[in-house]
């Protein structure tokens, strides 16, 4: 028998080596005649394949290949022509056939008699439009403007055509908008102050990195396709360091894991910087040519930061800080990925500025394979034609009014002159996803009418007056890009919309038609139109040139996916920063303008109140993106309830055993859920993953206060939420 070692390296060579091993001849993953073989083999009917784009709020924003047999989707997988998606989907994407054909889909427009009563009745689209349009016109008449109408829409579907909802609201007059993002605001401001805007390197460049620090990022769960490139880099010898308060799935794969105390990452970065400056390991040429304020920053560091302080603050021993600092400073190029979770603290923006500074002083910014990578928007230059129509003559008001999406309930309740009386909710589930859901519910109680457009009967729909059933990505056209990778993906309509579902664009046209029937000229949004014409209008000459495509239809015919010109895939390669000085700004006057310290300094973390000493973090969960996916029965078959991760030491102190029900409580709320005893979390922290679990009437946000992050106004209009500065107590229930 042949003895042969399959090394890690051989293992991943893919189909070529596999073919040899198997003696399969032409084995490979390529589809025959462009169709996956199953589709070709198992039907006598018509088989078609379509390109789709996963539109969820996810780094990976995959290009999808959908097989349709006799008008029904039979398989959904990744598009092989996209070198980031690589023909494979994450676990969530693999559930898409069930997302479409789920028995839980909302099938028809419905009206609820008594908000939260569950007493729903089916109504026609015409009835739904009539109720809504009459209410809009009534409000306009009573208040002299449409400002009492509030839109809360965000990231459930990032198809560019879904901005039709914003466009529709703009087309009736000035309205109130939930502004900001719960995602990335503090970190985006930080990168804005330092470099002008957040701009990340192409994640496929992890392969070019000599050293990778994943700083509070868990791509194993939130960006599986990035994790592939990181694993490939590891196999080539790149060192993977993970810095995180939790032993995440990604930390479990690291060459080195460093457990930092939550919300002290900035202190760790500043400690590393102190060591790098003291040991002359910084890139003097880069700093002198490309930055301003290094002198001031350096003197701040020398005066205020010591390795001993950093070790004490972070819980990371001094020799480890020194070693990691040396390794990072001497690796070329070294790549840092800052996760969104890391900045969901009251000092999150300041911490991101400190990490940016670490990358800047070592000259890692503007380098292929390097960078301090957080988020980017370089490929989002569409026309946003759906938002271009504007307020009709005489609709009242002067401009839109904003409430912070991150403190939605309280700010809706506080709004007056005029008060908010009607809500339109799309691509969002605020009753599950917002902090202080009880306050959000109170805000709902103040409304004359709550309209929610959604796929499923989630918490927000359950507390609405009217629900409008929407399409999945497979039932409507569109186009998507990512805030992480550099691909543009076509979304074709693969099947007819199920039941009576409509896209947000169709809903916008339908409502406009009704409004204009009731009062001609009351809505400027077009009343009809072909979605394919709409989508073509999104592409301008710049974006066509950037992606090398002639049109949406041209891209549809040519693989459904295109990558942006290489020239933009290395962030800041030209070293022309978009700051006021055009340089990297260690010293930022813009930061001062927004009320912050000009330098990347350490600002204190939020301290646990005495009665609630345990930090409760709510990171993303592998089977969900916010409140999407986890509730599907395919995933409920694997894990059907949320749980609380507790360190054995803490569990022992509280006499909690694995599987015991635990009550988690603070001044904002409480809930009871089963314990999972695990060393993956530190003993001063518990973890409850984010998500909507079917049949579960609480969410991780029950104990989350609307505590602000330090930054967000500069880039996003509003500060974010310090989701991870949530302190609780726990007891055996």
């Amino acid at each position: 028998m042949l003895k042969e070692s399959i090394s890690r390296r051989t293992f991943i060579k893919g189909s070529v080596s596999l073919s040899a091993l198997l003696g399969l001849g032409a084995a490979g993953t390529k589809a025959t005649k462009g169709l996956i073989p199953k589709a070709a083999a198992k039907t006598n009917g018509k088989v078609e394949q379509f390109y789709n784009a996963c539109p969820r709020n996810c780094y990976d924003t995959c290009s999808i290949l959908t097989t349709v047999e006799d008008g029904r989707i039979t398989f959904i997988t990744g598009n092989e022509k996209n070198t980031y998606t690589k023909g494979r989907l994450c676990v969530k994407g693999n559930t898409y056939p069930r997302v479409v054909y789920s028995p839980d889909r909302i099938k028809y427009p419905m009206r609820q008699k008594g908000r939260g009563s569950g007493n729903w009745e089916r109504i026609s689209w015409d009835e739904a439009y009539t109720i809504i349009a009459k209410k809009i016109l009534e409000i306009k008449k009573e208040y002299g403007s449409t400002l009492p109408i509030c839109l809360n829409k965000y990231s459930g579907n990032f198809n560019i055509l879904n901005y039709a909802t914003e466009g529709m609201l703009s087309s009736i007059g000035y309205t109130t908008r939930a502004q900001g993002t719960p995602c990335d605001p503090a970190g985006s401001d930080a990168q804005g102050f330092d470099m002008g805007v957040a701009y990340n390197n192409d994640p496929e460049q992890f392969l070019d990195a000599d050293y990778i620090i994943l700083w509070g990022a868990n791509p194993s769960w939130t960006s599986a396709h990035s994790m592939y490139f990181i694993e490939q880099a590891k196999e080539k010898g790149t060192k993977l360091v993970v810095i995180d308060p939790l032993i995440t799935q990604t930390a479990s794969k690291a060459d080195e894991y460093i457990q930092v105390k939550a919300s002290t990452d900035g202190a760790l970065a500043l400690g590393m910087i102190r060591y790098i400056i003291d040991n002359q390991l910084y890139d003097k040429v880069w700093v002198s040519q490309n930055s301003i304020g290094f002198k001031e920053f350096s003197s701040y560091v020398k005066k205020n930061i010591t390795l001993e302080w950093a070790a004490e603050k972070t819980g990371v021993p001094k020799p480890v800080i020194e070693r990691i600092a040396r390794e990072y400073a001497t690796a070329k190029p070294a790549n840092i990925w800052i996760g969104f979770g890391m900045q969901r603290h009251v000092n999150g923006g300041a911490m991101v500025r400190a990490i940016d500074a670490l990358a800047a002083i070592t000259g890692n910014i503007g380098k292929k394979g390097g960078g301090v990578n957080y988020i980017g928007g370089e490929t989002w230059g569409f026309n946003y034609h759906t938002m271009s129509f504007g307020a009709p003559e005489g609709s009242g008001g002067e401009k839109d009014r904003f409430v912070n999406m991150n403190n939605f309930g309280a700010q809706v309740l506080a709004a007056n002159e005029p008060p908010i009386k009607m809500m339109w909710i799309a691509c969002r589930n605020p009753l599950a996803q917002d902090p202080e859901p009880a306050v959000v519910k109170k805000a709902f109680d103040q409304m004359d009418l709550v309209v929610t457009a959604d796929l499923y009967m989630n918490q927000t729909v359950e507390y609405s007056d009217i629900v409008l059933p929407v399409t999945t990505p497979f039932e409507s056209a569109g186009i998507n890009v990512s805030y992480w990778h550099y691909w543009m993906n076509v979304n074709e309509q693969a099947i007819k919309p199920l039941y009576e579902t409509k896209s947000d664009l169709e809903i916008a046209m339908g409502l406009s038609k009704k409004l204009n029937q009731l009062e001609l000229g009351s809505c400027t949004f077009p009343v009809s139109g072909d979605p394919l014409e709409w989508v073509e209008k999104e592409l301008n000459d710049d974006i066509k040139e950037l992606f090398g495509v002639k049109s949406w239809d041209d891209l549809r015919k040519n693989g459904g996916t295109a990558k942006a010109n290489e020239s933009i895939t290395v962030a800041w390669q030209d070293l022309k920063f978009r700051t006021p000085s055009g340089k990297y700004e260690f010293y930022s006057k813009k930061a001062v303008e927004y009320g912050h310290h000009p330098l990347p300094v350490f600002t204190e973390e939020y301290k646990a109140p005495k009665e609630y000493p345990i930090r409760c973090m709510s990171p993303h969960w592998k089977f969900g993106i916010h409140s999407q996916f986890q509730h599907q029965d395919w995933l409920m078959a694997i894990q059907d309830h949320p749980f609380l991760e507790i360190h054995p030491d803490l569990a022992k102190k509280k006499s909690i055993k694995d599987g015991n029900m635990v009550k988690i409580i603070n001044e904002t709320g409480y809930m009871t859920l089963p314990a999972k005893i695990t060393k993956m979390v530190p003993a001063d922290t518990v973890v409850m993953y984010e998500g909507w679990w079917k049949g579960v009437n609480y969410t991780e946000n029950f104990t989350v206060k609307a505590l602000q992050e330090d930054m967000g106004e500069y880039q996003k209009g509003q500060r974010g939420i310090a989701f991870h500065d949530n302190f609780v107590n726990i007891e055996k229930a």
Binding site: A26, G28, G87, M227, I247, Q249, S252, G315
Partner: protein, 186 residues
């Protein structure tokens, strides 16, 4: 020489995401609770330092398949290449195979009233394609190996949660993760 095809599961690479399991469920349009492949959490002290580790298993296409022995109607065959095939047309749904398999692989499909299990996608293999779970794993952590040709020296035949291989001689092998360095506060 006959082949001995089996899965080689790289736990070092596996991120426990279940994409293998769900892509299989999707491709074969299985009932929501049917799981031809399943991902199991391993003890967190598997490699010494605490980590999140998972193992993905399906049918182990055993050398001495207990399902085949237990089946009263001969619905199971073992192909020349080692793949254990269950013929659902012959199956009477008595569930004896499910009880006999130390890994609990054959599952009862209450809709079809038949047993169901992983076929290693033999029809795809016969056409030169890879099994769906192998092709769709985002981390390329599952491989098919002809164990008559290759004996990977870094592979093991058992991991915690996996039944004693001496009973049915499963062909599945595993590559264990290597522990990384950790600086922990607790």
């Amino acid at each position: 020489m006959a082949k001995k095809l089996g899965f080689l599961v790289n736990i070092e690479r596996c991120i426990g995401c279940h994409a293998c399991e769900i892509s299989c469920k999707s491709f074969y349009q299985l009932e929501p609770n049917m799981r031809r492949r399943r991902v199991t959490e391993l003890p967190e002290n598997l490699v010494g330092t605490p980590v999140r580790a998972f193992v993905s298993t399906a049918c182990n296409h055993c050398d001495e398949p207990a399902c085949k022995k237990a089946c009263p109607v001969g619905a199971y065959t073992k192909r020349e290449d080692g793949i254990v095939v269950h013929d659902q047309n012959m199956c009477i749904g008595c569930q004896m195979c499910g009880k006999a398999c130390p890994y609990g692989v054959p599952q009862y499909n209450p809709v079809k009233k038949k047993m169901d299990k992983c076929s290693m996608c033999y029809d795809r293999l016969d056409e030169g394609q890879l099994p769906i779970c192998v092709e769709k794993c985002p981390l390329e952590a599952i491989q098919i190996v002809d164990y008559n040709e290759v004996q990977p020296s870094n592979a093991v035949s058992v991991v915690p949660t996996f039944a004693d291989p001496s009973i049915t001689h499963p062909t599945t092998h595993f590559i264990l993760p290597k522990p990384g360095k950790q600086t922990r506060r607790f």
